[in-house]
Symmetry: C2
Subunit: 291 residues, 2 copies
């Protein structure tokens, strides 16, 4: 894991640089996406690595690439390689770096903009990142979070805009919390890097429908949930949390993570029955499942 792809060239990672005129550095302008190469096994299903020594296979790659191209279009950036070519490069990248339990991040920036404002030919980066899987202890304990009034503009594109969330990190640390749950005018939307789910008193799986980034793990959870539960995609009000039986978040890194406390109010007692059931169902979904 030490080759990084920059604009068509493989570089030793420490040499993977962008000139300071890049529009990400000048104006935070760019999009990215991130997907796992071989999903982590949920700890309660822990088995021996089934394919030791073999490079991994990206989980739901097709959906991630759909979203990457969608984000690029949303910010008027042209991906400099075709979809077919990108698939080939990702395969090559995995083999060259012998990736097994990593994530791959695709980044596309506004390019080397002379006037520091107008996007030009984008710079593109493909880089491997260690997957920081939550521990068994963390899953058992669940996330403790606080709500926070904020709405991202155009959240449907996975842009580089995380300023608001990152500026809140010291507040979270001070309060011993794991994350912030955005809400706006009384309606819950999402976490900065994860989607929100609630199990209501009738065992319905409920998740916010709009003003969110539609996570690929969210989509996969909805898919597997529909076969076993009633599912609702709709506005979820902060006031409803008091009646939630279980809450959890979904993300590419964390898969499903129980959320056991919101604004000091405890929800359930550790990971709920349905949360665990969905974790299992999600893991059973084929790597190349097509929606």
């Amino acid at each position: 894991m030490n080759l990084t792809w920059v604009n068509g060239k493989y570089l030793e990672d420490e040499k993977a640089c962008l000139h300071v005129s890049d529009l990400a550095i000048q104006r935070g302008y760019g999009v990215f996406d991130f997907f796992a190469v071989t999903r982590p096994v949920p700890f309660f299903l822990k088995t021996a690595d089934s394919q030791p020594g073999k490079p991994g296979k990206p989980f739901l790659l097709s959906s991630y690439l759909d979203r990457f191209f969608h984000s690029a279009r949303g910010l008027n950036l042209e991906v400099p390689v075709s979809r077919e070519e990108l698939n080939r490069i990702i395969d090559e990248f995995i083999v060259k770096n012998n990736l097994k339990k990593h994530g791959i991040k695709l980044t596309l920036t506004g390019g080397y903009s002379e006037d520091g404002y107008q996007p030009v030919a984008p710079n593109m980066i493909i880089r491997a990142h260690e997957l920081k899987i939550p521990t068994k202890e963390k899953y058992q304990q669940g996330f403790r979070v606080m709500t926070h009034e904020y709405q991202r503009s155009t959240p449907g594109y996975k842009s580089l805009d995380y300023r608001h969330a990152i500026a809140l990190i010291p507040t979270l640390k001070e309060r011993g919390l794991d994350d912030v749950l955005y809400c706006y005018h009384g309606i819950i939307t999402e976490f900065p890097r994860s989607n929100f789910f609630m199990v209501d008193q009738n065992d319905r799986i409920v998740t916010p429908a709009s003003h969110i980034l539609e996570g690929i793990t969210r989509k996969a959870v909805l898919r597997v949930a529909r076969d076993h539960f009633e599912v609702q995609e709709r506005d979820v009000f902060v006031d409803e949390l008091i009646n939630a039986k279980e809450t959890f978040l979904t993300s590419s890194t964390k898969s499903i993570m129980p959320v056991t406390q919101i604004d000091g109010h405890n929800i359930g007692d550790g990971p709920g029955k349905i949360t665990r059931k969905l974790s299992e169902l999600l893991f059973e979904l084929a790597d190349d499942f097509e929606f």
Copy 2:
């Protein structure tokens, strides 16, 4: 103009790079500021360059540095040099690059973040940019703009967050417009890179009071205006535009630029009398004026 300062070292500009793990590239996280080295002379006062061959002197530097440190604190980033040291470096930077009619951009990013989310020791860049001064023709014509519903979060810090504005560039081009004027719930706030002013029917100078980045040129214009006009800093409603005698914008690059059309509605007939008067007063303000 070819040396760029990166983390304490002067580099040939083409070698001024940041590693792709920088938090500006990963998450758009950072702040900056920009100030002119010797202000442009308004075209209607055009005289010979008063100090040919001598390096320039930054305009209102103290206010820009106040804001740069303020922005850094707001995003929990520590400027790696003291205020005193930064003053010295800027003087040195101007002499080394023999800058006369340029702008200087200070950028501070979230640093080389291993987990791609948490800020670490910041990277700092000092770079010279050509000042793109609006032409006489453009001043005479004035800017044509459209209003657009949007509110930046924490606009008081000069962060790298320009995604929303930059994504609108194609729309502006398509409509032959110069800029977008943000408003929110019927209240005008600011342009993405400039502040908004209106001259009302009673020759009062009116400018939005809150939910804006407080521009240094805005502050200077308010200062010189108070000696000659009644000044109001308050909420300005979109509905009031219909009664504006003159409108203009202020920015470090553009100084004062008339705005002669908003949403297809013409305001005045070219640069207004008071707009021109303020342009002159602003130019007379001493480089090192202290507020």
